[in-house]
Structure formats: structure tokens, C-alpha cells
Amino acid sequence: MGRRHGRAGQDVLRRAGEASVLILISLAAGPKHGYALIQDVKELAGVELGPGTLYGALDRLERLGLIEPLPADDRRHPYRITAPGAEALRVHLDSMERVTAAGRRRLQLGGV
């Protein structure tokens, strides 16, 4: 398990980067290994993760205790989201929703 867990309600993913958030969203649907993650993220968000970025984000998320590796399947290591990871993702998505709603309201108010 990782070293740091955010306090309840704190958005620990705020500065984690888009790749980390997309990986967590992908893992929320079930465990995946690297190649499956890249394919899923491409399909769900139209974003092609570079392999170097992928492993960097996976290591970071693991250090934070937001994901954990499963026993290796052949040479591939699947990862799954942890309970703190699911909670962190929920908090981050709530925060993004609030920001999105505020942005849309302001666009309407501004008549842009």
C-alpha cells in the first residue's frame, strides 16, 4: 500500500496529471495491464498515452496507494484500483463536475 492517502474529501488527483486520472477511470471498470490500459484510454477519451508516460503514472499512482499490482500474468502486470483510489477518483470527478458546471454557467451569463 502506498505512503500517502489524502484526507477525506481532499482532491489528491488535482495535480496528478491527466494521464493518472484517465488510468484510474479505466481501472475503475476492472483490472488491466499496460497495453489494455492504453487501448481503453484511447477508446474512452481519444487520448493516446505514450508508454513512458503510462509507466510513470502507474508507479506514481501505486506510490500514492491509489492502485495496486496483481500477480503477473505471463510477463504482464495487471493493476487494479484500490478503495482509496476509487474514493480519490470520486472526489476528483465531483470537483471537475463543479468546475464544468460553473464554466457553463459563466459562458451563458457572458453570452459567449
Binding site: 495535480r15 499496460g34 505514450g50
Partner: protein, 139 residues
């Protein structure tokens, strides 16, 4: 990776990672590169992504919270090289002013930097590539 040159390129780039990273991800990373190349991703893009990842890996503090000795050496080397380069850069305008014959040559000007392609076009919806993720740290 059917092409031996491509395989060698990826293997070479993967050797740039720290040993602990290679022990953990090395085999899988090579397999992943092979799969991505098979899917049509340019080998150069993959190599570049791994190269950037390796640089980040060396410069990121290890889980123990200490900068590795190699990262310290790299930083020290950068500082040593950076100081003389800064001195040369600051001295150059003064020298140029002192000689009235300094003329700019169009063919000597550096070409505008070619940005690394940030978007990989694919059929259907627009695709965006993330080849570098923020660490959420301010230096």
C-alpha cells in the same frame, strides 16, 4: 518487434532506465512496445516516450525520498556545464557590439524548432497524445 533495428532501438532506450525500473517493468515494456509498433505506432515515438520516461525516472526522488546518486551527478554536471555556457552567452553580445562588421547570415540562423507531434491522427475522432504527464510538483 519483427524489425531487428526497431527492437534494438527500443532495447537501447529501455537500458536508459534505472536498474530497479528495468527489473520491474523491463520485459513488459519491451512487449508493450512490440504490440504498439504492430498496431502502427511509429517506433520513434515509442522510443522518445521511453526516453522521456527514463529521464523523469532518474530525476524523480526514489520511494525512500532521496535523490539517487546518479541524479545528483546529473544535476551537478548540468550546473557545471550551465555556468560556463551562461558566461559565454553573456559575453557574446558584448563582443558583437565591439565589432562593427558583425553581420547576420540568413543561412546561419537556426531553423524554427520543430515541435514533437502532439497529435496522432487516427480515423474517426480526433486523437490527442500525452507523452508527458505533470508530476504535480513545483520545483
Amino acid at each position: 518487434m519483427d524489425d531487428p533495428q526497431t527492437a534494438r532501438l527500443v532495447r537501447t532506450v529501455l537500458r536508459c532506465y534505472p536498474a530497479r525500473w528495468r527489473r520491474r517493468h523491463g520485459d513488459e515494456a519491451a512487449d508493450l512496445a512490440a504490440l504498439l509498433i504492430r498496431d502502427g505506432t511509429p517506433a520513434g515515438s515509442i522510443a522518445w516516450s521511453y526516453l522521456a520516461g527514463a529521464a523523469r525516472e532518474w530525476l524523480t526522488p526514489s520511494p525512500g525520498g532521496r535523490l539517487s546518486a546518479v541524479a545528483c551527478a546529473l544535476l551537478a554536471a548540468a550546473c557545471l556545464l550551465g555556468v560556463p555556457a551562461g558566461l559565454v552567452a553573456s559575453a557574446r553580445p558584448a563582443r558583437a557590439e565591439s565589432t562593427s562588421q558583425a553581420r547576420p547570415h540568413a543561412h546561419c540562423r537556426p531553423a524554427p524548432a520543430e515541435p514533437f507531434p502532439a497529435v496522432i491522427p487516427t480515423a474517426g475522432r480526433p486523437q490527442v497524445s500525452i507523452w508527458e504527464a505533470g508530476h504535480g510538483r513545483s520545483c
